[in-house]
Amino acid sequence: MVLETTAFAVSYGKIEALKGVSIAVGDKEAVAVIGANGAGKSSLLLGLAGIVESRGAAVYRGRDLGVLPSHGRVKDGLVLCPEGRHVFPELPVEENLRLGAYRRGRARQGLEKAYELFPRLAERRRQAAGYLSGGEQQMLAIGRALMAEPELLMLDEPSLGLAPVLVDQVFEALGRLRATGMAMLLVEQNAVKALGFADRAYILETGRVVMEGRARELLNDGRVRSAYLGI
Amino acid sequence: MRGTLRYMAVTAAVGILAGAVFSGQSFILVILSQIVVFSIAALGLNLLTGMAGQVSIGNAAFMSIGAYASVVLATRLGVPVPLAAVLGGLAAAVFGFLIGLPALRMKGFYLAIATMAFGVVVEQLIAVIPALGAHDGIRNIPSFLPGELWTYLFNLAFYLVLLWAARRVAESPVGLRWRMVRDGETPARSFGVDTARAKLSAFTLSAFYGGVAGSLYAHTVGYIRSADFGLGRSLDLLAMIMIGGLGSYQGGLAGAVIIVGLRFFFSRGFGPWLSVIIGGLLVAFTLFFPRGIAWGATLNWHKRLQVPYLWLLRKIRRRRTSMDGSSVVVSGKNMFYREAGEGRPVVLVHGNTGSCLWWRDAMDLPGWRTVAPDLPNFGRSDALDVADIDAYADSLAAFIDVLGLKRPVVVGHSLGGAVVMSLAARKPELAAGIVLVDSASPSGLKTPEEHYPVIELYRTSRDLMRKALSGVAPTLKDERLLDNLADDAMLMAPHAYAGNARALERFDYAGRAGAFTGPVLVLWGRKDVIVTEAMARETAAAYKNAKLSIWDDAGHSPMVENAERFRKELLDFLAGI
């Protein structure tokens, strides 16, 4: 088991965004989390990354994350690619990528891989990230997260703002990474893609897990299909 | 406005009293004068920083400009002192306008730097002008009036007038625009606010207040130096409004009492500590009491200080059952009601925080017997353990039964409308017809969660209650009736304040209300701020046999806002039954 949470909860002041969820990510497993807007998916990932405060237990590779600060989690290979990109707008693309390897990872190899994955970024390596298009920034954010050579990669809506062909590319790239044994926790709006990609999935609704199971089975479940897949 | 007038009256009384008590002690009178003068300057800063959100750390410079201008006018050009004071204010206002121009393009920290620079420039430049006494300043400035007492009272009068004016401005559209700028320039702009003009007017007015304060200061103390109006003074002013409460009109006075008082207290030998204490207050208030003393005082006023008075009010008012009303026992509880006329029965059901008094002017319906109860939990009737619409409706049904009213027409206002809906849906045969006046709709009425703390405050504050009721009946002109309605509202059972709002939230007769098939009149006033037009239409649509009547110039409470028209419309409806 790479990650296991019990009664994991996140609140913002009085608002309980995540009301105690128990999820698990196994070795080399890709797990998807889907749910409507405001269901608490981002809160889950931010809490796991230590960027917002959380309650409950989260055990990562046999160690309770407890109050471990965010940088400590990155050091242990628990890396988040946050929703909304959060690139450093004034720094050039390459500098952004290098910062991805700030805590762990080898900058040189990482850069090569990132440029290989997203040749577009290589063309813009000297440009300030703030000048990139939304989709390019998304590529940059993913590339930056990969720079840390994650052991568990948490992705929050990686396909957001990308053209369909690029979405396919991203998922293809993620597939290759998975083949190397990297565990993944994937939050997606694009539920069909996510369920098609993942091994298992959880469905969140107003801060709670309302359903879980093998991704394939959920993909064929009538309720899921009508509520989340719009089929 | 009433609040301000009352506050002004209290301040004037306390101020004059203080003057009288210390009339022989000129030292203390000068302190009192300074408190009042700095309150004016703090008020000016509060308009700019608290209202319009523009942090200035150079406002003492406006005092300086006003002081020097006024002194020059009075001593060299022979202008009468009171006029010189106002002209001093205007001179400062001109500078306020000028510094406001470059400040238009700046925000936050940058503006703070610019205002600080402005303050230091004024201080430095005045200090090198020989005609203004350079570093040594000007001495022997004549005062307005002979004697410290009159000077003090004169300053106090200025403060009160300027306070009143500030309140007027703040409540005008100009003040609204300031607050919009404070809460976000971009959104303000998208609402069509000319943010540049708004900021400029705030700067100018703030400078005017500072200038007047400066001239009063000069003529009170009799001696000015440009160093008296340096960065330290500007920080004093900032401390005053932080301590008193950012954006509060009264707060500046509290802050001035503390800061000026401290300055005198520490004037002998403890100077350095003063700096530490004022700095500490700035930090502490920003961190722990960001709304300042005035807010705390206001909250206490609404939460605690009126409690004894309300206790007394409840005691007295409950006992006055003689008041042309009667009581019956309904399911073991006393219910109070009033009635009028003879004929077929009409039952009038009041709304939330209501009582039978709301129907006072609607009860005279020739040919009909009108009966208006206080629902349980309300007015002079006994309380229930719960606050629930169905429970109210059950009590109402039992009440109708006990009084032996045969097939009455039942009229419900607001929450009372929900009660009537519940009654009519579950016992359709009971009523011959129903009238729903600005009623909650069949799907209930949701109160935003953040309003609940305010609702809780109504329980302990008649002031707020009265204010709320005047919003509920926006065109009601009868102040006495409003007072009485507010007094009656305070009789409500304590648990019902939040309880009724929750009850209306739970209330859901969507789909069931239509069980009543008799004639229905739905009345709605366009100025209603609680029930929307959509809700009124939803209510009318819930019944097979409903007529919707919309009044353009009434709010939530047509029967008190225009009783004449209400009776007429009601009689028309009754005639058709």
């Binding site: 940088h71 700030y102 | 942090v55 230091v120 700095g279």
Partner: protein, 314 residues
């Protein structure tokens, strides 16, 4: 005339380097931790007092200087950890008012602990002035240019340290992290930057740099509670020139300011002389002129002269 002009520049540059050092500290804290520190000068002043005390006790100038810088670093860390941590997420106004409160507290504390008597501080450097005579073709009067020895060294020390620190924050890994953190906090946390530590570093270095500026100016001003008040204003101006997020910009802005200031005095002097104005001293106007420059600059470029493009904040 040319000599006067050159002489003004020569006198202006060392001052300018001090302004630049001050501006560097201000823009460091603003550009990384996002706080405009109005207590910057006074925090530096307290550090200088500590240094002076250690100097008197140990009779060792280096010990005093090290102690002063360390005190500044600790004070900076304290302000960040204890005060600013609580207002994070509050309005800019709140942070501003807190630094103003700290300004007053430090002022009072210095008076309480060290009193109002100005305390002498030894020259950090000594050296003979350098005289330099321009060729007669340019300089008919034959007046030499004077470059005071300690001014030259002060200039080198201030400019050198400011540039060194600015370079550190420009190119080192912690420096890069600090700037990245200012641009996107969530992004910074996501890549594993220790944001709290980064802020503390900026505050510590920032306040320590103010202490350094204080040491460099102390031989002239003496050690007193108000010693850095004006220097802070100059620092603000320098940082405003630099656009507040560019530390190099602040250093260069400071140099420019030092020269402009002396030229303004020269110009005013000439004007007063030509206009026959008596009884006023051009030097009295120098601060005012500088401050008017701040206001005008801010009005023209509300976020500074070299402000970078992607600044949504403030």
């Amino acid at each position: 005339m040319l000599v006067k002009l050159l002489q003004s520049i020569i006198f202006g540059l060392p001052q300018g380097a001090l302004y630049g050092l001050m501006g560097f500290g201000l823009s460091l804290v603003f550009g990384t931790a996002g706080v405009m520190n109005f207590a910057h000068g006074n925090a530096g002043m307290v550090g200088v007092f500590v240094g002076w005390t250690v100097l008197v006790l140990t009779k060792s100038l280096p010990a005093g200087i090290v102690a002063g810088l360390a005190a500044g670093a600790v004070l900076g860390a304290f302000m960040d950890r204890v005060l600013m941590k609580r207002v994070r997420g509050l309005s800019h106004g709140s942070m501003l008012i807190i630094t103003l409160g700290v300004l007053m507290i430090l002022d009072g504390l210095a008076l309480i602990v060290w009193g109002t008597e100005p305390l002498l501080f030894p020259d950090l450097f000594s050296g003979l002035p350098i005289l330099w005579t321009l060729p007669p073709a340019l300089n008919p009067s034959g007046m030499p240019l004077i470059i005071p020895g300690n001014d030259l060294r002060t200039f080198l020390a201030a400019l050198g340290s400011a540039l060194l620190l600015a370079a550190f924050f420009r190119w080192s890994k912690p420096g890069l992290a600090a700037r990245a953190r200012a641009q996107d906090e969530v992004g910074a946390k996501a890549v594993g930057i220790n944001v709290a530590a980064s802020d503390t570093l900026a505050w510590s270095v920032g306040v320590a740099s103010a202490v350094l500026a204080g040491f460099l100016i102390a031989p002239k001003t003496t050690v007193a509670p108000t010693m850095l008040v004006n220097l802070q204003l100059y620092g603000f101006t320098a940082a405003v020139f630099g656009g507040f997020s560019s530390m190099m910009g602040a250093v260069i802005g400071g140099l420019a300011l030092g020269v402009i200031e002396k030229l303004v005095v020269l110009g005013l002097d000439e004007a007063f002389m030509a206009g026959g104005v008596a009884g006023v001293n051009a030097v009295d106007f120098q601060l005012s002129v500088v401050l008017i420059i701040i206001i005008v600059t801010l009005a023209a470029r509300p976020t500074g002269l070299f402000a970078s493009k992607f600044k949504g904040k403030v």
